[in-house]
């Protein structure tokens, strides 16, 4: 089962490498990983999308907690968090397909951020499943390039999660 894990880390030299080598060294999967500083000074937040059964997930969270530079680990189980991802998509758009791309962009509330006579570049945000859906519709039209950020997640409700 896929899990989204949020990790609060010291913004230290090499912390990303520590997390990455923990996953590779112990044979855990990373489906996506994103990291950037938070509002608290010296702290960064990673969102890791991983998969495994309950035992593996328990090991992953425990092993992450064991790293000295990691302050907190949360496994967002279904529904407790809002997930978003951003994708930049370059798609072929000539003749009649130009209108079709625009229609799809409109339906998904995405944006055109670059245009040429032969292509559109699209910015789409949303739940990763929504990104998958827009890609499925655009793929037959000729997908030239795709960049996804990986998920970021934040817990629902009024409480802020801090270090």
């Amino acid at each position: 089962m896929q899990h989204t894990i949020s990790v609060l880390v010291e913004n230290e030299f090499g912390v990303l490498a520590r997390v990455a080598s923990l996953f590779s060294g112990r044979g855990f999967n990373i489906d996506s990983l994103s990291v950037a500083p938070t509002n608290e000074e010296g702290l960064s937040r990673m969102t890791i999308v991983t998969r495994g059964d309950d035992n593996i997930l328990e090991q992953i969270t425990k092993q992450l907690n064991k790293l000295i530079d990691i302050i907190k680990v949360i496994d967002f189980t279904d529904g407790s968090a809002i997930e978003r991802e951003l994708a930049l998509i370059k798609v072929s758009a000539e003749d009649e397909s130009r209108a079709e791309v625009l229609r799809i962009v409109d339906i998904f509330r995405a944006k055109i951020i670059d245009v040429t006579p032969k292509s559109y570049t699209i910015e789409a945000t949303g739940n990763p499943l929504k990104i998958d859906a827009i890609l499925e519709l655009l793929r037959p039209l000729g997908l030239k390039e795709l960049v996804r950020t990986g998920s970021v997640a934040i817990g629902r409700g009024a409480k802020g999660w801090t270090g």
């Binding site: 010291e10 030299f13 090499g14 490498a17 090991q59 907690n65 064991k66 000295i68 302050i71």
Partner: protein, 566 residues
């Protein structure tokens, strides 16, 4: 007072109570060695290889319980420490390793003797630090020692660039340290302890399974009194040997692949396993699916990741084993009646165990013509001091030592259990002898492993360290040969050493004494001669070449499927 980084590092060691360092100089640590020249509070031991330096610091740490400290230069010096660090990491030994690094401005430029030792050791240290500003150095050293010795101990590496060693700042050593992301849970939850004792008292076939955590946590005394109070049989891992006296009638000896028949049968038939500071390693459990099929498991460990990693656990207690055991004893004392009933109900279980013990005790066939290695180990126990420290290498002799040398005190066996590092024994013995100049320190090695760090003979002689080196010489890489015999149709691929070594001459070349024999009747004489010598000695025993370590649970088999004679 302002001082340079090199001096600050040494002052930090002093503040941490370090009086001994094992280290090897080089270009990027020359400033440290220059400061050391007049720094009288620290004794520096010069090994002949950086790997041995770290093993020596490790042996020193295991024997004393203190943090071992090693220095090495950048590049090859640093990479040579890696096996030593990984060895300590796998067995949770507290070390601080200080490596030199090229100046910060050159890092990443493939400078002369540059290696990314932070990257290289990331997965075999508990933590590591690159010091980029001399102002951070004292705090980092404080953190390094705190991390190394607290919680589940382990090695910490501090990489110190040359320019940081030269830069000057005010030396202020922090009194306390706060690390947001590191708060080991040392206090066992009282409710869990209560539940554990209740659960334990419902069992009828309990076994206490002890690992190295009890030695590291200085909890041998608590463990022994709990086991005796409740009259529960105790089996230990290789790392746990010494934490419970093997001459006690409750002792089952070592369990696992080369463990005692009674220990493995007890685990298989048990209805309650109390695991203390052990991690259910594959060499202990055999086939996981059939491991202890009838047992509920109580698992006590300071490291939460050890719990439920390999086996299901019914009742986990995260905490310092000494704290938890003390609480368990108190809890048992509150339930005197229940405890008395519990002990009465164990009679049948003790009979089962006595039956297994007498059915297949750890044994070997003595010979009058050729030296049996097990006989040498038994003689060593008989003739050595009670508090002798034994360091082993890795292989057959290590298992024979575990089986036949009776360990009754903690910190008397130094052995590379997790990583299984050949070449560990001699330098580890060196480190232990530095810590305890008056005690008898013996390293038991094979002819393979001893040659992996044989250069340390020079360090022994130079420092007048009277380590007794016992070599069980079968002219084979015996453990691999044994596997080849049993599982590969006796195809002895590259395990015969072919060329015999004259170990007497070798000892003499280093200025030590050497004795050798191939006769069973001379074993005792050689040991006595060796022990009598005031300096380091090699005692070589040319043993039965194809003797096997038995019993044995073949890899992947269940604990009760032991090969007893092959």
């Amino acid at each position: 007072m302002k001082m340079n980084g090199a001096r600050i590092m040494l002052e930090c060691l002093k503040k941490e109570g370090v009086d001994t360092v094992f280290g090897y100089p080089g270009g990027t640590v020359i400033n440290i060695y220059d400061e050391l020249y007049n720094f009288k509070e620290i004794r520096h031991i010069l090994p002949r290889h950086e790997q041995a330096g770290v093993h020596a610091a490790d042996g020193y740490a295991r024997a004393t319980g203190k943090v071992g400290v090693a220095f090495a230069t950048s590049g090859p010096g640093a990479t040579n420490t890696v096996t030593g660090i990984a060895t300590a990491y796998m067995d949770s030994i507290p070390l601080v390793i200080v490596t030199g690094q090229v100046p910060t401005a050159l890092i990443g430029n493939d400078a002369f003797q540059e290696a990314d030792i932070i990257g290289i050791t990331r997965s075999c240290t508990k933590h590591n630090f690159l010091v980029r500003d001399v102002k951070d150095l004292a705090t980092i050293m404080k953190k390094a020692f705190y991390i190394a010795r607290s919680g589940r101990p382990g090695p910490v590496l501090v990489d110190l660039p040359k320019d940081v060693q030269i830069a000057q700042t005010e030396f202020i050593y922090p009194e306390t340290i706060e690390i947001r992301g590191y708060k080991p849970n040392l206090i066992g939850h009282p409710k869990q302890v209560e539940k554990a004792v209740d659960l334990l008292l419902t069992s009828r076939k309990p076994v206490i399974y002890v690992g190295g955590g009890v030695v590291l946590g200085n909890a041998a005394e608590g463990l022994t009194s709990l086991a005796r109070k409740l009259s529960i049989p105790v089996t230990t891992t290789l790392m746990g040997l010494g934490s419970f006296p093997e001459n006690d009638s409750l002792s089952l000896g070592m369990l696992g692949m080369h463990g005692a028949y009674c220990a493995n049968m007890a685990m298989t038939h048990s209805d309650m396993i109390i695991a203390v500071g052990a991690r259910f390693d594959d060499r202990v459990t055999g086939k996981i699916a059939t491991f202890a099929p009838h047992a509920k498991i109580i698992h006590i460990d300071v490291d939460p990741t050890s719990i439920k990693k390999n086996v299901r656990v019914d009742l986990p207690i995260v905490g310092d084993v000494k704290d938890v055991l003390t609480k368990m004893i108190k809890q048992a004392d509150k339930n005197k009646e229940k405890v008395a009933e519990f002990k009465d109900a164990l009679v049948g279980w003790h009979e089962d165990i006595a039956g297994w013990k007498s059915k297949h005790p750890i044994s070997y066939k003595q010979s009058s013509t050729v030296i049996k290695p097990q006989f040498v180990i038994q003689k060593l126990r008989e003739l050595s001091d009670d508090d002798a420290i034994i360091a082993t290498d890795v292989g057959q002799h290590q298992m024979w030592t575990a089986q036949f040398f009776e360990f009754n005190k903690p910190r008397t066996l130094l052995s590379s259990g997790g990583l299984g590092t050949m070449g560990y024994g001699l330098p580890a013995a060196l480190g232990a002898q530095v810590a305890f100049p008056q005690r008898q320190v013996i390293t038991i090695c094979g002819d393979g492993g001893v040659q992996m760090n044989i250069q340390e003979m020079a360090t022994l002689v130079q420092n007048r360290l009277p380590v007794k080196i016992v070599i069980l010489n079968n002219n084979f890489l015996g453990m691999v040969r044994q596997w080849q015999e049993l599982f590969f149709d006796k195809r002895y691929s590259q395990t015969c050493m072919e060329m015999p070594i004259d170990f007497i001459k070798l000892a003499e070349a280093y200025g030590a004494k050497g004795f050798s024999t191939s006769k069973p009747s001379e074993v005792e004489k050689v040991i006595m001669q060796g022990f009598k010598e005031p300096g380091p000695v090699i005692m070589e025993f040319k043993i039965a070449r194809e003797e096997k370590v038995l019993p044995m649970v073949p890899a992947g088999a269940s604990l009760n499927e032991m090969v007893l004679n092959a």
